[in-house]
Symmetry: C2
Subunit: 313 residues, 2 copies
């Protein structure tokens, strides 16, 4: 396939086209994924997650530049909230990352968060495969770290950077807990603001509650002011240190195994969903039976049993 | 079952115990759900969602009090971020809602957001069924409206209240887009703050983009200062107006049908997941095959085909 060859040679329009294909999940998409899989596995995957307004885009921007300074090529996938009415990713192709958007060695892609559960996750994993196949040395995945699906997307990256920020109120401190256990490196960004030290202390206290805290990698907490570049060198050093740790401990194999298992499970469940859906249609589930369940003439649990019986071997 | 009788009679410890049972998804849980289903459907379901720090708890508190003043009983399910290390919901049983927590006619429950995709949603729907069965007139579901899974939980409530707040930065304005289409009533809380008018205007503009805006219910935008009670009466009026609209247009049947279909689909997919998992175990998928896929000797898409072939009729 000419498109694959061009993408492999680094042709950006071809890479963009390939990502669009694998996003859609068409039969063509399955063929592409099958063909490229055996030539993936070379890229280093870095997840960046944090609440809205924490400055993760700026931080990613700086980290990408650091990679570029070492002559590495970089792909960036930004999982953005999506407009319900336009269907497109609101933030577009990250116009804010203007510093790197025109760089030949950088490819930036926005992914919308709309669609069914697991949909974004699958689309993101597939896009990562295309970038991996296209030969990018580093792939950054940036998500809003609040919802479970967003967390699931980054949690199996080789290194996960969790970004916090002072002054977002109590609720946010609680939300952060959901992403505590997935962080390899914690960043308190906008650390020139009031309350930064308190966020550092709270994070340290929460990490200290982890019963496994003395085993393996100890997640550092780094203060940055990404807009000024403060602390970015230190963060970059820690990212590299973490990668060395992954290689030495061979934890990288374990992580990639988990990531792979999750992906296979996703593909399987997507297929399972299709099977179940078509079975529901055959049963005229959407109209007649649903009415009877609503009027409490039928019990939905009996209906479920019936469908399962007919669907699985 | 004595527990069911007690819960039906409004005994709070029994209700709490029943919710714990249906949360766990055990065989006992299935039996309970099957038994209570035919006696549910009487409660009015109101979803409240908004970003962390928007004051949705305070707002819910005030709405609950308004229901109580009319002599109605109220159940509240707060879907809270969960601590990764303790496993429990950080905010506990909503100590902040102290104004209503001791009221005999109010039952409050926190649900954690941890676990697999779809897990929270299923647990929440099951808890709603228990409260419905126990005879509460109103059930409020409160979630952080950022992640897709949180949105999926509230979007099929009879009425959905989307809470915004000034001053959370650009990112949040974008995030809000993801929940725009599910809102029946929009609230700009903390409207005494700078920028409140801008949030109202932005919301109005975004709603105006909806191609279906002239069909059916037109979502109002209401300014509140929940902590002082400002605007709460107006909000309450709108909630009742929306309910009247649902009844008159019979849209309530349509909504409940969609909710039911989603729930049945969730139950089916949960079962499908169990089938696929056990199939993976039989295939020793987690060890041997995964290694071969990682080393690129095997293509995961071939493995998926093989498993699907063996799983579905």
């Amino acid at each position: 396939m000419e498109l694959l060859e061009k993408a492999k040679a680094g042709n950006k329009p071809s890479i963009a086209r390939l990502i669009s294909i694998v996003e859609e999940g068409t039969p063509e998409s399955a063929a592409v994924l099958r063909e490229i899989y055996l030539e993936t596995g070379g890229a280093r995957l870095i997840g960046v997650t944090g609440p809205p307004g924490s400055g993760k885009s700026t931080l990613t921007d700086k980290l990408v530049k650091a990679c570029r300074n070492k002559g590495k090529t970089v792909g960036v996938i930004a999982v953005d909230p999506t407009s319900p009415f336009t269907g497109g990713a609101i933030l577009g192709d990250r116009i804010r990352m203007s510093g790197i958007a025109l760089d030949e060695g950088v490819f930036i892609r926005s992914m919308g968060t709309r669609g069914s559960l697991g949909g974004v996750s699958k689309a993101t994993h597939n896009a990562i495969k295309v970038l991996d196949y296209a030969g990018f040395d580093y792939i950054f995945i940036e998500t809003v770290g609040v919802g479970q699906s967003e967390i699931d997307i980054v949690k199996t990256a080789d290194s996960v950077i969790v970004v916090s920020v002072p002054g977002l109120g109590d609720d946010v401190q609680a939300s952060k807990a959901g992403i505590l256990e997935i962080g390899d490196i914690f960043v308190v960004n906008k650390s020139d603001r009031d309350g930064a030290e308190r966020v550092v202390i709270e994070l340290a206290q929460m990490l200290d509650l982890n019963p496994n805290k003395d085993i393996g990698w100890k997640p550092p907490i780094i203060k940055t002011v990404a807009s000024r570049g403060d602390g970015v060198d230190e963060l970059n050093d820690k990212v590299n240190e973490h990668y060395d740790y992954l290689l030495e401990s061979d934890e990288i194999t374990e992580r990639r195994k988990i990531r792979l298992a999750n992906e296979v499970m996703e593909v399987l469940m997507k297929h399972a969903e299709t099977y179940v859906h078509s079975r529901l249609e055959e049963e005229e589930f959407t109209s007649k039976k649903l009415d009877k369940i609503l009027s409490r003439e039928l019990n939905p649990y009996d209906v479920v049993d019936e469908i399962l019986e007919k669907t699985f071997k």
